[in-house]
C-alpha cells in the first residue's frame, strides 16, 4: 500500500495530478469516513423506506377510509414537492421544535442530529414512492390466489404476509430497484444540512487542497461504483427470488 501512496505522491510532484485524498493519511481518513457515512445513510434509508412502503401499502388495503386518505395525502405530498425543500423543512423547521435531551455529559442537545433528520426526510421521500410501487404489486396479485388463501382459513394479515407480499415483491422488484438507486443518489443532498457524507467531505477536501478536478473524478467514480454494486446485489436478489414458472 505504502508504495502506491508514494507513487501517487510522485505523480502529484511530477505531473501535478493531485490525489492527496488517497496518499495523505489524514485526507484519506476523512474521505473514508465520508464514504462510510454515505453507505450507512443509504442503508438505513433503504430499510426505513421499504418499511414505510410495506406498511403504507397494507394501510391502503384497509377498509378505514380516513386511513386510506391519510396515506394518499402523504404520498401525493412527498411525491410532488422537492426532496431538498422537504429536508430543509425537517431540519430547519421541525428540528427546532423538537425537545432537547441531556447527553452523557449532562449537556442538553437536540434530540436528532443532522444525520437523523436526513434519514427521516429521505426515508419519507423514498417511502412515498415505495408505497405506490408495493401497491401496484399488491394489485397485480391474482384475486383468485387470495381467495384460495382465504378459503384455507388464513387471517387477513397472514394472507398479506405469506401470500400477497411475497408475490407482490417479486412483481415490483424492478421498480423498487429503480427507486432505491435513486434514493442512494439522493443521499448527496444531505450535504445541504452538513451531514459529513462523501460529497460533504469531498467539498471540504477540495477547498482545503484545491484539487477540484481530481476530487470530482474520484467522487463520480465512487458514486458510479456504489450504484453499480447496489444494482449487482439487487440483480442477484432478483435471481434468488425467481420462482420457476412464475412471471416471465
Amino acid at each position: 500500500m505504502d508504495a502506491l501512496w508514494d507513487l501517487l505522491r510522485h505523480v502529484h510532484d511530477a505531473y501535478g495530478v493531485n490525489l492527496v485524498h488517497f496518499y495523505d493519511g489524514f485526507e484519506r481518513g476523512r474521505l473514508l469516513r465520508g464514504i462510510w457515512t454515505t453507505v450507512k445513510l443509504a442503508a438505513v434509508c433503504i430499510a426505513f423506506s421499504i418499511l414505510i412502503g410495506i406498511v403504507g401499502a397494507w394501510l391502503q388495503t384497509s377498509r378505514q377510509r380516513i386511513l386510506k386518505a391519510a396515506v394518499k395525502v402523504y404520498i401525493q405530498f412527498f411525491r410532488n414537492t422537492p426532496p431538498l425543500v422537504q429536508m430543509y423543512f425537517f431540519y430547519f423547521a421541525l428540528g427546532p421544535q423538537m425537545p432537547r435531551v441531556v447527553n452523557d455529559f449532562g449537556v442538553p442537545q437536540p434530540m436528532f442530529g443532522s444525520f437523523e433528520w436526513a434519514v427521516l426526510s429521505l426515508s419519507f421521500f423514498a417511502g412515498a414512492f415505495n408505497v405506490e410501487i408495493f401497491r401496484s404489486g399488491v394489485e397485480a396479485v391474482q384475486k383468485a390466489t387470495v381467495e384460495a388463501a382465504d378459503s384455507l382459513g388464513l387471517s387477513r394479515w397472514q394472507i398479506y404476509r405469506y401470500v400477497v407480499l411475497p408475490l407482490a415483491v417479486r412483481i415490483c422488484l424492478p421498480a423498487l430497484n429503480n427507486n432505491l438507486v435513486n434514493l442512494a443518489k439522493t443521499t448527496t443532498q444531505a450535504y445541504a444540512i452538513a451531514v459529513p457524507e462523501t460529497l460533504f467531505v469531498a467539498s471540504q477536501i477540495w477547498s482545503d487542497r484545491i484539487n477540484v478536478l481530481e476530487m470530482m473524478v474520484t467522487l463520480l467514480t465512487f458514486y458510479l461504483l456504489l450504484v453499480g454494486v447496489f444494482v449487482w446485489a439487487m440483480t442477484r436478489l432478483e435471481r434468488r427470488l425467481r420462482v420457476p414458472g412464475f412471471g416471465q
Partner: protein
Amino acid sequence: MTTGSVPAPRLTPRWFATAALLCCAALAAGEAGAQLQAAGSRPGVLATLWKWTPLVLFGPPREFGGFALNIAVSFLAMAIGTLAGLVLGLGLVSTLAPVRRLSWLVTQFFRNSPWLVLLFFVMLLTPFQLRIAGVAIPLPGWLKATVGLSLPIMANVAEIVRGAVNSIPTGQWESAESLAFSRLQTLWRIILPQCVKRMIPPWMNWYAILTMATPLISIVGVNDAMTLTQDALAAEQRSELLIPMYTLLLFFFFVYCYPIARWTIQLERRYAVRN
C-alpha cells in the same frame, strides 16, 4: 397518424380538497406560532408571509429570481436536455457499434451520477466566461446550473427514445426498407412519429422530477425560491415563521407539480388503451 388533442389536467375536487387542506395546515401552524409568541408589536405570521411572497415568487425588484427562476431553469434545462437526449437516443439505436457503445457509456454515466454532484461538476469546472473570437461571453451561475441539471435529463430522455424506438414492431422497419427508405428517413419519418405518444408521459414525468430538483441550485449559490426563503427567514429572525415559510415554499412546488403528475397519469392511461 391522428394527432389527438392533449387533454388538460382535470382539477378534481380531491385536488382542491388537498390544496385547501395544505393551506389550512400552514395557516394553523402559523397562527399557533403567533399565539405562542403573543408579541403584539410584531406583524402576524400571515401578514409576514404575505410580505415575503412576492420576493419568493419573483425575486428581488429589478432582478430575476425566486420561484419564477426555478420554473425558467426547468424549462431551459428541459429544452437542452431533450434536444441533447434525442441525439444521444438516436446514438443508442445506431447501427454503428462504436457509436452505440459510446452513447451507452455516456447515458449510463449521466443516468447513474447524483444530480448534485453533476451540478457541482459543472459549476466548479466551467469558466465564468467564454472567449470566442476575442469576445468574452459571461457564463452566469444560473446558466451553468441549468446546463448541470440538463445532463441527467439528457441521459434519461435518451433512454426514453431507445425504449420507444425498440417498442415499434420490426415489421415497420422492414416495410419501410422495402420502400427504399434510408435508415435515417425511416427513423425520422416512420418510427419516431409513432413513438411520440408513448414518449410523452415519461418525458413529462422527468420534467416534474427536474422541476423538483431545481432547488438544488440554491446550494451552488443561485437566487432561486429556496435561497430567497432562507434570506427572508434570516431577515426576520423569528422562529415561529420557520414552519409557515417552508410550508409555503413546499406549497408553491406542490401546486405546480401535482397537476403535471395527474396529467401525466391521464395521458399514460389514454395511450395505454390506444396501443
